[in-house]
Symmetry: C2
Subunit: 382 residues, 2 copies
């Protein structure tokens, strides 16, 4: 399911020995057509991995036959040999499927700075091709790193399907951080329309997920369309379904963030502009002291106001309201309800910031800063 | 010593019951003249505490007779009553010393959003005045919050002295974060010259200390000059001595950062501009994944390059060198010496980033991200 839910797609996930555990580590998703339209968005990090450099070239003409993904190594900062590994992987997929290498996207995730063993990847590709079928969950498992579970989503439009898979459990930040997402659909839409829809959908989903403020070198969100449903929806309707898939996957990524004990939804309302709302939400989402306080079940609204104060957004510090889980703890920049009325024991935390400066709003998803976050990211080289 | 090392100054530190532990919590530093020249810099956080709002008015004319500081409460976001508390504190000091309240700086540190008990502060002021003397260390202890020790520094110029005290053990970020610093000197310099020197010195010291990226609402660095030495140094020479005091105190703040197990010195060299060097250094200093890796003694240079890639600085990702503790682990964006040659067991870590894009440089001081940081900032409301 997931990436194989839409008509026209096959997938496989195999173990190629890239992970020392022997777990699945190479995924292949193939678009059998009749159309092979596609769009993709990439990390905005200027330090870009070899598969990003490669895939930017592939997507330029809007045609994609297949996407191959590996965990067990990011293939980033691995020199010219590293780029050759990416290129050869695409050529291996192309030869096995009888397509052009220039229509094969490549994604990698894992440790930066280590060369990938090309022979193992090519053997993985050779094993994946005969395994192609309705194996979306295998593919989703093959791209997991520290993820505790695969992330899958399927939504139905009027006569068509959008399905997706995602991996990512850390370094989640605006600009699509350490996140690989593949979404497939059977709509009949040209690549330019897919690109418009994908950018609109990611802007309010993955781009507003900021687990730990760290942006990866390898992020990629790809959208492949087969046209197999024969349905050509209105772009707005399709974008809405696509956005639902993206939001569903983004919330799954948030819920599986490394070491997190709280999922925090920061809603910024009555901002002068949407950009202001996003800037304020991100500033709070990246404030380690606020995030540590939430871990300690401490409704520390002072740290929220201190974080807001570092932004350029339009607001009056003495006219801001802050509520946590429905309790307004700060009104007009002064204490309101007692802190101890706030129950932060549930995993989900709603933080509401009312800037009283306009009518725009935005929601940022983040996590708390925990002992387990420090443990996983100090003990695990990634 | 420290703030009482320069001729013309007296200080006191007393316990006024603001801290539940009964520790010293009110400090008073008085300039006996003959001059009462002064300069100050304040947090750039737009959410500013009442003592910041007050002290900005006091410093406007460049004349300061005394500075009163308290721990046990930040007096930030406490409404109009909170501002009245700051005002009344200055008036209490002024009445006891026979000076004008408009020449009394006020600093507070502690929890945001709680009202300070004015009666206790005024009682503390009343107790501090008769205790005035060569009590710089008492004053330094009275401003401690989670600091494990007082921070003191004294440097001698040619016939004059510059001495200072500082507090701060968290929320240390550019813009002078949760940091109170008082520096005294006996030079004969007008307030405008003191202001020039202070801004030059803080720009390359406190402003380059970025322990956890969190900017406080209460930071203030004040410089008071008595003229009691009778020496009027060249401004450049004085600035150099002042900078040494600031750097000494900044390194003491770094060394006492909450829960840190490593002091990390990030030197960015061969940048096109100093601003580029600062931006790159700060980006690395704020990268939680890099900071957690250092806690785990993992020389994870990939996380360094990923952090650099989020900046707008001029650099070529494939022409950057990264060294840790003298071992070049990345050369021209590819692996160089093996990671296991890097010994990260000492507390001090030298990270060298060579951007190969120009001749400018900057150094940022930061700390690692540890279990103790999370513990102290989740268990302690501040």
């Amino acid at each position: 399911m997931s990436v194989t839910a839409a008509a026209g797609f096959e997938a496989a996930g195999v173990a190629a020995g890239l992970k020392s555990t022997g777990a699945l580590d190479v995924a292949l998703v193939v678009n059998r057509g009749p159309l092979q339209n596609a769009a993709a968005v990439f990390t905005s990090n200027r330090s870009q991995a070899n598969p990003i450099i490669w895939s930017r070239q592939v997507i330029a003409d809007g045609t994609v036959s297949a996407i191959v993904l590996n965990s067990g190594g990011a293939n980033c900062f691995t020199g010219s040999q590293g780029f050759q590994t990416t290129h050869s992987t695409a050529e291996g997929v192309a030869a096995a499927l009888g397509v052009s290498a220039s229509d094969v996207l490549v994604c990698s995730t894992g440790l930066i700075g280590d060369l990938l063993p090309l022979d193992r990847i090519l053997a993985g590709v050779a094993a994946a091709v005969p395994a192609l079928g309705d194996n979306g969950e295998d593919a989703a498992r093959a791209i997991m790193t520290t993820d505790s579970k695969p992330k899958l989503s399927i939504k139905r439009g009027d006569g068509y399907t959008v399905g997706g898979m995602a991996k990512g459990a850390g370094m989640l930040a605006p600009g699509l951080a350490t996140m690989l997402v593949v979404i497939t659909t059977d709509v009949v839409l040209p690549s330019q329309a897919l690109d418009t829809a994908l950018r609109a959908a990611t802007r309010v989903s993955f781009d507003r997920l900021d687990s730990d403020g760290c942006m990866s070198t390898n992020d990629q969100v790809s959208l492949l369309a087969s046209g197999a449903s024969g349905v050509a929806p209105e772009l707005d309707a399709f974008t809405a379904v696509l956005r639902d898939v993206c939001l569903d996957l983004a919330e799954q990524l948030q819920g599986d963030a490394e070491g997190a004990s709280h999922d925090i939804r920061i809603a910024v309302v009555n901002a002068l502009t949407e950009d202001d709302a996003v800037e304020v939400g991100r500033s709070v989402a990246r404030n380690n002291l606020f995030k540590a306080a939430i871990f300690g079940n401490d409704p520390n609204w002072g740290r929220v106001l201190a974080a807001i104060g570092t932004t350029d957004a339009t607001f009056d510090p003495y006219d801001v309201d802050v509520s946590m889980n429905g309790v307004r703890v700060c009104h007009a920049g002064a204490p309101d309800r007692p802190r101890d009325e706030v129950d932060l024991s549930p995993r989900h935390v709603d933080l509401l910031i009312d800037l009283k400066s306009g009518e725009a709003a935005a929601t940022i998803l983040t996590n708390d800063l925990t002992h387990d976050y420090v443990h996983e990211n100090s003990a695990y080289a990634s």
